[in-house]
Subunit: 463 residues, 2 copies
C-alpha cells in the first residue's frame, strides 16, 4: 500500500517538480555528436545536473566516465540490509531536433500549452524518467526513506543505440547489480489505456554508399553511358521488398517467433481504430509493411526494413545536370524475437554483394545493433506492475508489445540478470523523434505515483 504521505508529497510539490523538469529539458543533450546541433557539452552539463539532483536527495551519486562516449550517471540508495535492489533506468540524451521549421517553440526552450510540456525529450526520455525521480524524492522526503534499495542509472547514448553500453556495464557490473530494472521509455496504447510493454523490437542500423565515377559528371555528355548511383541505389532499395511488402533478404524471416494466438486475440480487444491511427500520422491509409498481417502485428511482431535517410547528387534548390559520383542511404531493420542482429546484418551484406550492379562499389557501415526483448507477460513482476498502474491511473493496464527498441532492457536482462519491467508513461501522440515532442503533465503526476507504488509492490515481496 502506497503511503498517503508519498502521494501527498507529489501533489504538494507539483510546481517545483515541473520547474525542475523544465530545467532538465533545457539541456540540448543530443547523443549524436555529429548532428547539426552539436550536443557534446550539453550532455556533460546535463549529467552533472542529474548527479547534483540525486546527491541532494541523499543518493551516493556520481557522473561516471564512459570512454569514447557520453558519461553515465549512477546513484545508490542502499540502506536496507535485506530488501531487493531496484534499478531505475532512464536516458538523458535526446534525438536531434531537426527539422526545426515545424516546431512551435524552440525544441530546447520548453513551453507548457494545454497541460502538455513541449520540448525535445519532453517524453523521450527526460519526462518519463523524471517521474522516477519524483517517486524517489516523494518516498525520501514524504515518508523518510525508500521501501527498497535503489540504483539509479541514467545513460547518455540511448538515441544512438548505446554503442558503448555493453562495455560500460561489463566494466561497472558491481555498481549496477540489482534484482529488477524499471524502465519508463514506452507509451500507453491509448490515452485512456495504461499499458505494460512485454516485448520490444531490436535494431540494425546500416549506411550503404554506392560509388560510381571518380567525380560528379555532366549528365548530358555522359548520360546513357555512365552508370548512375542514385538510379542504381534506388533499384537496390526497391529490390529489398517484394510486391506484398515482405523483405526479400535471404533468410530474413527465418528466426521470427510467430505470434501466439492468445496475443492475437488480446490485441483484437485493444481500443485501436485504424482510421484514427492513420489520421494521427496524417495519412489516408497505412500501406507500409507486409500486406498479409494486421497493422498491430506489423508494428509489434514483424520485422521491417526502412530507409531513414537518403542523399546523393545535387540537393539544393533548382537544377544541376550531373550524374553524381555516389549516393548514400541510411537503412534500418527492426527485429523481433528471436532474430539476431548480427545474422540480419550478414543477410544485408549478402544482398548488397549480390545486387550491386556492374561498375559500382558498395560500402556498408553498421552504426548500431540491438537485440529484441521478450519477457513473459504472465510473470508475478508484471502482475505487480499492473497493480501499481491501478494505484497511479485508477485503471488496469493492457499488456502490449512495442515496435521501438530499448536495447538497454535486453542488455540488462542478458548481462546483469535483471528482470526488466517496461512501465511506459507516454501517450501515442507525443511526437517522439519528431517536431513538437510533448509530454502530458497529468501523465507525469500519475506516472510518479505509479512508480512510487511499484516500489511498494516490490517491497511487499512480490518477486
Amino acid at each position: 500500500m502506497l503511503p498517503t504521505a508519498v502521494r501527498d508529497y507529489i501533489s504538494a510539490h507539483d510546481q517545483d517538480f515541473i520547474a525542475r523538469l523544465l530545467t532538465f529539458l533545457r539541456f540540448p543533450s543530443i547523443a549524436n555528436i555529429a548532428a547539426a546541433s552539436d550536443g557534446s557539452d550539453a550532455c556533460i552539463d546535463c549529467a552533472n545536473w542529474l548527479q547534483q539532483q540525486l546527491a541532494s536527495l541523499g543518493f551516493d551519486a556520481a557522473v561516471v566516465d564512459n570512454p569514447g562516449g557520453k558519461p553515465n550517471v549512477i546513484a545508490h540508495w542502499h540502506h536496507h540490509a535485506h530488501a531487493p535492489t531496484v534499478m531505475l533506468y532512464g536516458h538523458y540524451d535526446v534525438q536531434p531536433p531537426e527539422p526545426l521549421a515545424p516546431w512551435l517553440n524552440p525544441p530546447f526552450q520548453p513551453q507548457i500549452r494545454d497541460g502538455n510540456i513541449y520540448a525535445r525529450g519532453a517524453n523521450d526520455n527526460k519526462g518519463q524518467f523524471f517521474a522516477h525521480l519524483m517517486a524517489v524524492e516523494a518516498w525520501l522526503k514524504g515518508h523518510g526513506e525508500l521501501p527498497v534499495n535503489i540504483t539509479i542509472f541514467a545513460e547518455g547514448e540511448e538515441e544512438i543505440g548505446s554503442p558503448q553500453l555493453e562495455t560500460f556495464i561489463r566494466t561497472h557490473a558491481q555498481l549496477l547489480q540489482a534484482d529488477i530494472c524499471l524502465i519508463s521509455d514506452s507509451e500507453f496504447f491509448a490515452a485512456d489505456c495504461p499499458s505494460i510493454t512485454y516485448s520490444l523490437r531490436g535494431l540494425a542500423y546500416i549506411e550503404l554508399t554506392l560509388t560510381g565515377a571518380r567525380a560528379d559528371a555532366h549528365s548530358g555528355i555522359h548520360g546513357g553511358a555512365l552508370q548512375n548511383p542514385i538510379n542504381a541505389l534506388a533499384c537496390m532499395i526497391a529490390g529489398m521488398h517484394d510486391a506484398n511488402g515482405a523483405v526479400t533478404l535471404e533468410g530474413f524471416y527465418d528466426d521470427v517467433l510467430p505470434l501466439d494466438e492468445n496475443e492475437r486475440r488480446a490485441w483484437q480487444s485493444l481500443p485501436f481504430s485504424l482510421p484514427d491511427y492513420a489520421a494521427s500520422l496524417g495519412v489516408p491509409c497505412l500501406s507500409g509493411g507486409e500486406h498479409k498481417y494486421s497493422v498491430l502485428e506489423r508494428r509489434w511482431a514483424r520485422p521491417t526494413l526502412d530507409c531513414n535517410g537518403i542523399i546523393g547528387g545535387y540537393t539544393e534548390a533548382g537544377s544541376k545536370t550531373i550524374i553524381p559520383a555516389s549516393a548514400t542511404a541510411k537503412i534500418s531493420m527492426r527485429l523481433v524475437a528471436h532474430q539476431d542482429p548480427a545474422r540480419q546484418v550478414a543477410a544485408f551484406r549478402r544482398y548488397v554483394e549480390t545486387h550491386t550492379p556492374a561498375g559500382f562499389t558498395a560500402d556498408i557501415q553498421v552504426f548500431s545493433t540491438a537485440n529484441p526483448l521478450f519477457v513473459d507477460p504472465d510473470s508475478p513482476l508484471i502482475q505487480a506492475a499492473a497493480r501499481a498502474y491501478v494505484t497511479g491511473f485508477a485503471k488496469s493496464p493492457s499488456l502490449i508489445r512495442c515496435g521501438a527498441s530499448i536495447p538497454v532492457a535486453e542488455t540488462m536482462q542478458r548481462l546483469l540478470k535483471l528482470q526488466p519491467v517496461l512501465m511506459g508513461l507516454g501517450l501515442p501522440d507525443d511526437n517522439l523523434h519528431s517536431p513538437n515532442e510533448k509530454f502530458s503533465l497529468q501523465q507525469l503526476r500519475n506516472g510518479a505515483v505509479t512508480i512510487a507504488a511499484m516500489l511498494t509492490e516490490i517491497a511487499d515481496g512480490t518477486p
Copy 2:
C-alpha cells in the same frame, strides 16, 4: 584566307588575353540564384565587364535587362552594307561549383597549371566564348575592321536551362537578327580530333516529391505500418528503367530519329577507346543506358533518364530512426531528335500518376525543357567551318553529335531562322560541371584563330 596580321595579333597579345580571361573567370556568375553560393550580384558585374570590353573595341554594346532573370549582353558591329551578319553566342553564367572539397584551387580564383586554366567556367563557357572575343579584337585591332557584320550575344542563364530566353529573343528579335550563329560550347572528340557538332540532345528537368505522413515519424513505433516515402520513391525510380536499361515511360521512344547507317559507320572510325573513356571517368566499365546500343550511340543518339539528385529523411552523420515525411528526387531526361520535351514531360506525369503507391501524394515541378538540335552535316556552312578548323588546328575536324544540351542553338534556329554552327573548342577531360574544370591555353589560342578564320570563310561568300 585569314590575314596574317589577325593571326599575328593573337600571338602577340597572348599574355594580355590570358590576363583578361582570368578576370572574366573571377566573377562567381552562377546562374542558379538559389544555389549554395549565390551569384546574383556577380552576374550583373560580369555582364557589365563584358559590355565594357566590347564597347572599348568599338562595339555598340549594352547590358540588356531580362525581367525576372539575369541580364544579357548584346553588342553590334554592323559597318558593312552587304556582308552577312554573324552572331557570336556565348554564356557568361556558370554551374554551381559544389562540391568544393575536390577543387585544387578555389573555383573562382583561377590558377594556371601545366598549360591549363583551372576555374569554374574555364571551359564552360567563359573560356570558349573568350576565343570569340579574341577573334573579333584581332580582326579589329590587327586588320582594322571585321570581314562581316557581327552581333555578340552573351547570355546569363544557360546553365539553368535559359528559362527566359525565348521571351527575351521574341522581345528583342530586331536586335538579334543575323544570318548565322557561331557557338563554341561543345568539345573536341579527343585531344587531337577537332570536331564540329551537328546534333545536340534536348532536356526536360523535373523534381518529384513524394509525401506520406504529416511529419517525420518514429521508425520503431510506426515501422511496418506507416509507408516510407524513400522506399516508395526508390521503387518509382527503379521502375523507370527495365532490366535492359531502357526507359519504361509509355511512348518514351516513339519519336526518336533512328541513327543513320552513314553516321554509325562514321562514328566507328572515330578515335574512341572504351577502356580509356571508362578510365577518364574512374569506372571499371560503362553500364548506364540501353544495353543493346553502343556507348557513343547511347550518349549521342538515344534519350536517357537520370537522377541528378535525391534527398529525404536524415542525412547528417550518424543515425536517426525516422520514417521521413517526404523524399525528393531531381530527374532529367536527355532527348534526341525528334522528341518533344512537352510530350516527354507528359509521359513522366502519367508514369507518376499511375505508379504513386497508396498513401502518398506526388508533386512534380518542371524546372526546364529544351528541344534537341539536328542540323545537316553536309551543308556548305559546316564545310566552311571545317576549313576554319584546318586553319586554326591544322587538322580536318570530325563531324560528331553531343549528348549535352545547348538549347539556345535550337532556339536561334527556330525563332530567328539563324543557321547554328557548333564550333567546339573544349577537350573531353575539361571536367565540365565538375570540380577542377579546366581549359587548355593552346585550345584557346588555336580556337581564336579558328573563329577568326571562320569569319573569313563566311565573308568569302560560302553560305
